[in-house]
Symmetry: C2
Subunit: 501 residues, 2 copies
C-alpha cells in the first residue's frame, strides 16, 4: 500500500480540504516558546518566536486548530494545582464531579482558546489547558475533570466558568473560547451547549477521538501506560518504535473494541453492552452503595465464592480432564437460586411462606416482595455480591477482548474508559484474563488517564503538524494520515458491526 | 491422518481394552425384536431374535453396555404416557421436577437395565426407558425428567422408585439396575447414589456425554433439531450427510463451548460463567419470581428499554458511522444508576435522605437499605429487569459463541442445556446474535430435548455397535472412534483452557 508510506516533502502545505470531519490541522503557527533543540523545531526554523499578541489570538479563532501544544517535557503531576481556578471544592463523595491528575506542559505557553468534552452515557469528561497563573513556573497544564452525565448542567456550569476566566487561564478573550465535543452527548446536547455557553461547538467522532487520545498518551506522556500484575501493580512501559497494530478496549457504560492499524486508521470490531453501566446499575439495585467508588470499595472486601458457583461446588473436586480447577467460577451468581430454594423450604417449614402475586411487581420490598425474597437477600452481603459482579463483568470483557484480538491478530490490548478507575481488582482480572486466554502471548495495558482518551483526542483535534516527541504526528506523515483517515472512514462505514443487537 | 479413515472389516471384534473410560460398547446381543429391513440387521443376520429371558437379563448385567436400543421409527410423543409409572403427579409449579416430552421407540422391546442421570450445578436430568406396559402398543419410550440439584434427594427417591418397578418397566430384576451418571454430581454424589439405591454407578465424562447425546438427537430423532426465527419459530431440519464439524454451546448454570470434529472427537474450546445460574440468581435477588419459568414469563412481558441505556439515549439519534442504531443496547442496566441519582436528588429535595452505613450490609431492605435504594427499586418493574437480564445473558453467550466459532472455523452452532427451556425470546436472541455477528453465514440450531444431551449421552454409553439410522454408529467405524476418543482425550488434556478464571 504505497499511499501509507508516502512521505510529503513540502512541510508548508496547508491543504485542509481532505479532512471534512476535523478542525483544520494546519494553519498559522502561534508563537509558542519553542525549544529549538527539539527535532521538529530544528527542521522548521522559519517559524518566529513571538509573544502572544492580539493578532495571534485572532488567528487562533479564525483558524481553529492552529494552536500548537508543546508537549516537550510533559509529565503527570501528583499534587493538585494550587489556586485551582475552578472555584469548586475538591471532589467529595457524592458530588457530581471527579478530578484526575493533571499533566504539566512546562514548555507550552501559547494561547489555548478551546476546551474539550467527551459526553458519554454515564460521565462527561472535560479536558482544558491552563497556564500556571498562580505560580512562577513556566508553561501550563492539562486539567482533567469528569461529571455525571445526568448532572450535565454542572458540567456546563463549569465550562461557563472556564469561559469567564479565559483571560486569566489562557490569555484569550471569553468570546474566543470554542468547545470541542465528542461522545453521544456532543450530538444530544449540541444545541444546549451552544445556548448555555454562547460558543462554537465542534463535534468530533467518538471512536476517532479515542484513538487520537490513546496515541497521545502512549507516545507522548511518560509514566502514563503501565502493565498490571499482583506482584508488580504498576509497571510503566515506554512505547516501542512502532506501536501499531493494537486493540483498544474502551469500557464506559458499554464497551467498544477497536482495531487500530496506524495513526487514525481504525475499525470498531465489536463491543459488549455488559460494561460499567451494567455493574453500576445492578449494584445500585442490589447494594446500598451510592457511588462507583463505594461499590469498588465493597468489592475489595467481598468474597465471590459465597455467591458464585465454583467448579468445586458442582464436582466436589477439580474437573481435571478439561483443566478446570475446583476454584474456577462455573456460574456467576450460581449459588443464589439454590439459596432461594433453601429459604423457601425454611419458610414452608415454619409456615410463614407468603407467595405474592408475581405480575407487574415493582422491585421495592415495600410493594410486595415475599418473605422468601427477603430471606434470600439477608443471606448475601453487599460486598460479596459486588465482588462477584465485578469479576463477572471484568472477566467477560477480558474474554471477549481476547477473542477479538485473536481474530484480528493483535497482541497489544489497551484498556481505557472510566470503568477501570485504577481499581486493582478490575485491572488484575482484565490482565489475568488476557494472559490466561492467550497463554501468555498477549498483554493488557492500562493508562493513568484511562477515562480521558476521547476528550484528550477531541482536544488534540485542534493540533497542528509537527509537534510531539514521536514521529506519529510529524508533518511529513500528515497527508498520508489524512488519506488514511478518509479510507478508514469509508471502511468503517462498510463494517456493519454493533456492540449489541 | 490415516487413523481417522481406517475401516475395520472384522465386525465381530470385541476388544474393549482401548476404551478405559467407557462401558463395554460391544458384547452379546440381547434379542431385541429387530426389523430386518434395516441396513444394520441385514448385515448381521446371525444375531437371533429371541424373547427376553433370564439368561439374557443376566448377560445384560454381566456385560454392561450390551443393550441395543432399537431407534427405528423413533419419534417424539406430544402426549404424556398414560399410567405413568413414576407415581408422582405431573409437574406443578414449585415442585422439584419437570418433565420433557418422551421419545417413543416402537421397535425396542429388549430389556434395559440401566438409567442415566446428569447432575449439574442447578439441575439433575434423568433419562430412563420404559416399556409400554399399560398399553397394547409395542416397544417403549425414553422418559425425561429433571430435578433441582439442591433437592437431589427427590431425584434419588425417584430413581429408587424406578428400581423398585424395574420388572414392570423393563422386565429386569430390581437388583439388576445400574446407573450411568455424568456431570459434576456424578462425582460429588457418587457414594450417596450407591448407598441410597444399592446399585452400581458408572461415571462418564460430562463433555463426552454431551456430544454423544447431541449426535444421537441430530442423527436419530426426527423433528428434534430446529432453527428459530420470529417468522418461522420452529423450522425442523434433517441432518446433512456429514454433520461435522460443529460447535456445541451448552448453557446450564454456566456455559461450555465444544468444538466437535467427528464422532466423539471434541475439544472444550471455552465457555463463560455468565449462564443460566447468573440469570436465575440475579433475578432471584431482583424479582419475586420463584421459578425459572416464572422469570421467563415476566421477561416476556417486560420492556428492556426502561432499564437498558440505548444508543439513542446517549446520542439522541443513531450512531450511523459505525452502524449502531438508536435502538441498539449500549449498556445493559445502564439507565439504573442514573435513576438512582435522580431518586437521591428527590430525596435530598424532600429532606428525606437517609444514608445508611455502607459497610457489610446485607441485601435485605429490613436490615438497612436506604430510602434511596427503596426509591430506585420502585422505579423498575420486575418484568423490565427480567427482560433486560435475559437479553444481556443471551446476547453475551451468542456473541462469545460466534467469536469462538469464528476462531475455530465452525458454521453450525447447536445450543443445548437447560437454560433455553424452549423460551422464544431466548432462542430469538441467540439466533439473531449468530446471524448478526456472522452476517448470515452461521446458523444457530436448537433441540427439543436441549437439557438432556448429557444424560442421553450417558444412557447411550451402554450402546452396542451397529444401531441407528445413520452411519455414525456403524460398527465399521468403532475402532476408529475408539482411537479418536483416546486421541481426543489426550488432546483435551493438553488444552489448558477454562470457562473462567
Amino acid at each position: 500500500m504505497p499511499d501509507e508510506t508516502y512521505q510529503a516533502d513540502h512541510p508548508e502545505v496547508t491543504s485542509t480540504a481532505a479532512t471534512p470531519t476535523t478542525a483544520t490541522p494546519l494553519s498559522i503557527a502561534t508563537g509558542a516558546q519553542h525549544d529549538d533543540s527539539t527535532l521538529e523545531q530544528t527542521k522548521v526554523p522559519r517559524r518566529p518566536r513571538t509573544a502572544t499578541n492580539t493578532a495571534e489570538i485572532d488567528s487562533t479563532i479564525i483558524h481553529p486548530g492552529s494552536v500548537r501544544i508543546n508537549v516537550k517535557g510533559a509529565f503527570i503531576v501528583d499534587t493538585p494545582e494550587s489556586g485551582t481556578p475552578n472555584g469548586m471544592s475538591p471532589s467529595p463523595q457524592g458530588s457530581s464531579y471527579y478530578e484526575t491528575k493533571d499533566i504539566r506542559l512546562p514548555n507550552h505557553t501559547a494561547v489555548v482558546s478551546h476546551i474539550a468534552v467527551d459526553i458519554g452515557g454515564s460521565l462527561a469528561k472535560l479536558v482544558y489547558f491552563s497556564r500556571e497563573a498562580h505560580s512562577t513556573e513556566p508553561g501550563g497544564r492539562l486539567n482533567f475533570l469528569s461529571f455525571e452525565t445526568d448532572r450535565i448542567e454542572d458540567c456546563f456550569e463549569f465550562m461557563k466558568h472556564l469561559k469567564d476566566k479565559q483571560l486569566a487561564l489562557n490569555g484569550s478573550r471569553s468570546s474566543e473560547l470554542s468547545v470541542m465535543a465528542t461522545g453521544g452527548g456532543a450530538y444530544k446536547f449540541y444545541d444546549r451547549i451552544r445556548e448555555r455557553l454562547g460558543v462554537d461547538v465542534m463535534r468530533e467522532d467518538e471512536m476517532e477521538c479515542l484513538i487520537i487520545g490513546l496515541d497521545f498518551f502512549i507516545t507522548e506522556i511518560p509514566r502514563e501506560v503501565f502493565t498490571y500484575s499482583e506482584t508488580d501493580p504498576m509497571h510503566f512501559v515506554e512505547p516501542e518504535e512502532n506501536i501499531y497494530p493494537y486493540m483498544l478496549v474502551n469500557i464506559g457504560s458499554g464497551v467498544s473494541m477497536l482495531k487500530v492499524s496506524g495513526p487514525r486508521t481504525y475499525e470498531r470490531v465489536g463491543g459488549t453492552s455488559l460494561g460499567g453501566g451494567t455493574l453500576w446499575g445492578l449494584l445500585s439495585l442490589l447494594t446500598p452503595a451510592e457511588s462507583f467508588d463505594e461499590m469498588l470499595d465493597m468489592a475489595a472486601q467481598g468474597d465471590n465464592a459465597k455467591v458464585d458457583m465454583l467448579v468445586g461446588d458442582i464436582y466436589g473436586m477439580d474437573y481435571g480432564k478439561i483443566g478446570l480447577k475446583g476454584t474456577a467460577i462455573a456460574s456467576s451468581f450460581g449459588k443464589v437460586f439454590r439459596m432461594k430454594r433453601e429459604a423457601e423450604r425454611e419458610a414452608e417449614d415454619s409456615g410463614g411462606l407468603s407467595n405474592g402475586d408475581s405480575d407487574h411487581h415493582h422491585l421495592s420490598s415495600k410493594s410486595g416482595e415475599s418473605a422468601v425474597t427477603e430471606a434470600i437477600k439477608s443471606r448475601f452481603s453487599a460486598s460479596d455480591v459486588s465482588r462477584s459482579l465485578l469479576y463477572a463483568v471484568s472477566n467477560n470483557i477480558g474474554q471477549i477482548a481476547y477473542l477479538q484480538s485473536q481474530i484480528h491478530g493483535l497482541s497489544h490490548i489497551y484498556f481505557g474508559g472510566s470503568f477501570i478507575r485504577g481499581h486493582p481488582q478490575t485491572m488484575n482480572t482484565l490482565s489475568y484474563a488476557i494472559k490466561f486466554w492467550s497463554k501468555g502471548e498477549k498483554q493488557a495495558y492500562f493508562l493513568r488517564h484511562e477515562g480521558y482518551l476521547g476528550s484528550v483526542g477531541a482536544f488534540l483535534k485542534r493540533q497542528p503538524r509537527n509537534w510531539g516527541r514521536r514521529g506519529s504526528f510529524e508533518e511529513e506523515g500528515l497527508e498520508t494520515r489524512m488519506r488514511e483517515r478518509v479510507r478508514a472512514e469509508s471502511a468503517s462505514q462498510e463494517t456493519v458491526d454493533e456492540a449489541v443487537l
